[in-house]
């Protein structure tokens, strides 16, 4: 039980560090590169909800009020849903 808790804590800790790194990368590297990384992470993790927050950041930082302001948010939500549907089908 103790080992299991330790494992879960370490997993959460690693994921938090990864999120901080991705957050900085989203602000620093070109948009197409950070988009590729986020797509990769959505495919790798079972339910990568952090992608929604990164997309939210993209939309609030760079979209002008006259454009559709939820482009990245919509894209990542749809992608997470599709990936979770495919993932469960593959693992049966």
């Amino acid at each position: 039980m103790k080992n299991k808790i330790k494992k879960i804590t370490s997993h959460a800790y690693n994921r938090a560090i990864l999120d901080i790194v991705i957050f900085i990368l989203v602000l620093v590297i070109p948009w197409w590169l950070s988009t590729c990384i986020i797509i990769g992470l959505i495919a790798y993790f079972p339910l990568y909800l952090e992608a929604l927050f990164f997309s939210f950041l993209f939309d609030t930082l760079y979209t002008s009020r006259y454009a559709f302001p939820y482009i990245f948010l919509t894209f990542s939500a749809v992608l997470i849903i599709i990936v979770s549907l495919i993932r469960t089908r593959i693992r049966t």
């Binding site: 602000l27 988009t35 939210f56 950041l57 993209f58 939309d59 609030t60 930082l61 760079y62 454009a67």
Partner: protein, 290 residues
């Protein structure tokens, strides 16, 4: 009759049904989570756009500034140790000087034409040192602003600058990269930063005037600092024609660098580009009302 396979089979079936049920409930809960967070974030953007943007810029600004400083320091160290880099730098400086001189020549043409027009008009007050006057008689002054984020970081043709409403910037203020080269408009303002949408942003429509013929056209942004116009083939637009932003003091939007006549239709596509690389600049001038 002994049928020892049946219990096993029924077990497998029930196990499979149970697994399917678990899988479906897992997928359903994932979808609920995603949709829940999606709608929550979308509602936040919808109801509090200004607060969200201000918070995002507050968080992002230090990281952008640190990155700019780090990149500039690293490039200085590299140049110090590498002779070849020094030569490249000098070459680049000379190229920049040539670009600046060509911009000055362009400014000169614009001012000369404007001067002629003013002589004809007479009596209209214009160009008061660094200030100008708009059509409603407001005195405008330009504020120097540093670009803190630009493409390719941003997926759209937008810039984030370090001046905002506290410096007198308002939505709709024109953004210049030289005295007469206009590149975009301020579309969002927070207290200490603003979002500039370039005329070349995809879907952006701007009314511009051909400087040579004085004909007015609607220019569409295509992204990547490029704008286009689709006009009938007979329209008098040539390579190198200058398009200016229609205002009392005309400001150059860009030059025609390609005319696509190859289409079978009766229209041609004109490609317009800003005279300098917009994505390589570090500073801009933003017009503010006094």
């Amino acid at each position: 009759m002994k049928m020892n396979f049946l219990p096993k089979n029924s077990y497998t079936k029930s196990h499979s049904a149970h697994f399917n049920f678990r899988r479906k409930s897992l997928v359903r809960s994932s979808i609920y989570w995603v949709l829940g967070i999606f709608f929550l974030l979308a509602l936040i953007i919808y109801f509090f756009p200004k607060t969200v943007r201000t918070s995002s810029y507050t968080v992002a600004r230090p990281i952008w500034i640190i990155q700019e400083e780090t990149v500039s320091t690293i490039s200085k160290i590299r140049d110090f140790f590498t002779f070849k880099s020094w030569l490249t730098r000098e070459n680049q400086a000379l190229r920049d000087e040539v670009t600046a001189l060509s911009l000055q020549a362009n400014d000169y043409d614009t001012i000369l034409k404007e001067n002629d027009d003013l002589k004809i008009l007479m009596g209209r007050q214009q160009a008061l040192g660094s200030s100008t006057e708009d059509v409603n008689g407001h005195i405008l002054r330009r504020v120097l602003s540093r670009i803190i984020s630009k493409p390719p970081r941003s997926p759209y043709d937008t810039l984030v600058i370090d001046t905002g409403s506290s410096e007198g910037i308002t939505v709709g203020s024109k953004v210049f990269i030289s005295s007469t080269l206009v590149v975009g408009l301020v579309t969002d303002v927070t207290p200490h930063s603003s979002l500039v949408t370039l005329f070349s942003a995809s879907g952006q429509k701007t009314v511009a005037e051909n400087f040579r013929t004085a004909a007015t056209f609607e220019i569409s942004g295509q992204g990547g600092a490029t704008m286009t116009i689709t006009v009938p083939k007979e329209t008098d637009i040539l390579w190198g024609d200058k398009f200016v932003y229609s205002a009392l003091t005309p400001a150059t939007l860009g030059l025609v660098y390609y005319v696509d006549n190859t289409s079978q239709s009766s229209f041609k596509t004109i490609y317009i580009r800003t005279q300098t690389n917009v994505f390589a600049i570090k500073w801009v001038f933003v017009e503010k009302k006094l």
